[in-house]
Symmetry: C2
Amino acid sequence: MIKKPYLMFIGDVSTAVFAKTAAGVKYWRPEQAAGQFRFPGGVDLGLPDFTMKEAVNAGIKTILIGVAPQGGGLPQEWLDFLIEALDAGLDIASGLHVRLAEIPALKAAAEKNNCNIFDVRFSTQTFTVGKGTPRSGKRLLTVGTDCSVGKMYMALALEKEMQKQGLKATFRATGQTGILIAGSGVSVDAVVADFISGATEFICPGNEPDHWDVIEGQGSLFHPAYAGVSLGLLHGSQADAIVVCHEAGRKDVKGIEGYALPSLKECIHLNLQMGGRTNPDIKCVGVGINTSSLSDAEAMDYLNKAEDETGLPCADPVRTGVAAIVESLL
Amino acid sequence: MIKKPYLMFIGDVSTAVFAKTAAGVKYWRPEQAAGQFRFPGGVDLGLPDFTMKEAVNAGIKTILIGVAPQGGGLPQEWLDFLIEALDAGLDIASGLHVRLAEIPALKAAAEKNNCNIFDVRFSTQTFTVGKGTPRSGKRLLTVGTDCSVGKMYMALALEKEMQKQGLKATFRATGQTGILIAGSGVSVDAVVADFISGATEFICPGNEPDHWDVIEGQGSLFHPAYAGVSLGLLHGSQADAIVVCHEAGRKDVKGIEGYALPSLKECIHLNLQMGGRTNPDIKCVGVGINTSSLSDAEAMDYLNKAEDETGLPCADPVRTGVAAIVESLL
């Protein structure tokens, strides 16, 4: 469990697209995004600019590296600041590809100050293989026609709407951005293949009968590289409900040639068929569409057509909210 | 690539069931099983008993640990002999759960003598994610209704029969016993989940148009713990042909309560449906049945009924051979 609130480390990253994780944390957990630290030219998230000392005085517990350094490697001036932060008693949470906990200078500073470094892209836990045993509580999994179509946003929007309606709901993170937002979770695509379902069972264990775990999906059953991860998640979650997510206008698997995306109906059908193996009562309760590339009028038209095709409530978590999907769930 | 031939290390393992890997190597690659080393009471594989020196003089290159120590831990007397073997210039190949290359005394002896230790259960390679691009050559994948139903034996029997008929065929190993038999391969269930398909593509790359890779399957699409691995293998292999394997009499998923096995037809159907995503021309060319628990008459009856159900040639690789399946393939 990563301690909150966070100081968002922006460094010298000047392009908003490279600060997506930080922006996601601020959007979904504004109460945890207590400040930002920038070098000259770093993008402004609209948070108070703190020096490291001011951050500690403001009660901040962890520096969250919510940006990807341009160029790849970790710049020396980032390193210097991170050591200073550890010396002040802050933990570090990072979604970078490089393992900060294995950089000798950071490792030494963390040990000296008794601080933690969370490299959330990598799992340090050992898991058991999936058990497949039915468990108490309810679970909803977001699934997709492809990668990067809005599965995490849909899960977070559902959690928010369900909690607003007084329901017991907990977002369960399965990727690095989701983990930084939630403060815990497991990067399911980074566990050893034998344990995909077991790690998923670990993330969303048995719970109160009226409690919903809202689980962030990964990949797609139709994705030629990642379908194994998606199937392990579907089996391990024993989903009572799924919400299928899609990006308006996307026709083909992103970054892979020759793979047309399935229709919404095909995607719903296959997920119900496969998910039925570990939960025969699985049903699809709605469709999420990322309509950010469309005008308001185009978006409403797209959502209406998707409702006609599927017979289910279709919503954009950012543009329309997801109340209709929560209604369909209950 | 593990160097051959092998000295089969039996140690003090006195029960044939714990020497299954060694027996499998001897059965499928008799020319590589050049000798055995036993302590008093060790099971007899019917190979020449060699001291370590005699083995080296006989041209043996690698000690293969084809047994699981009773109790789990590695006995000290095993360790002493393995160090002696490394000192004599032999490599070690092991399918044990413990990583021999990380035991300090073995690591030091291997370095001193410039020898290799292959812990085939663990992958030391880094893979790329699956590409999904069509590639030349033909590929057959064995799939199953469950774990441990004979997928490896079927793949090895098909390779043998195809080579006997003058066809170009290569067994591709995806589990530790298969790797020790073939001398190379990747334990696909031990790679990071993101790379299941990518590792599979690596194992069976593009080849001559009339060459068949015969790929050992793992798990089952119907297995609540391992289906993700099975789907990644199916997608990554881009199988032109599958052979569905089953054990006569098995009704439920082994070791997991509440999961009935699919019928042969259901298993064929789902594998063709899912495999069609990366190879639309996939077809099922036969069924393998492990009939070892049945009498000859019962076995023939079982195989006949399976043929009636599926309309495909059904064979037990050990009892009947697989010529009928190869015929159906061509």
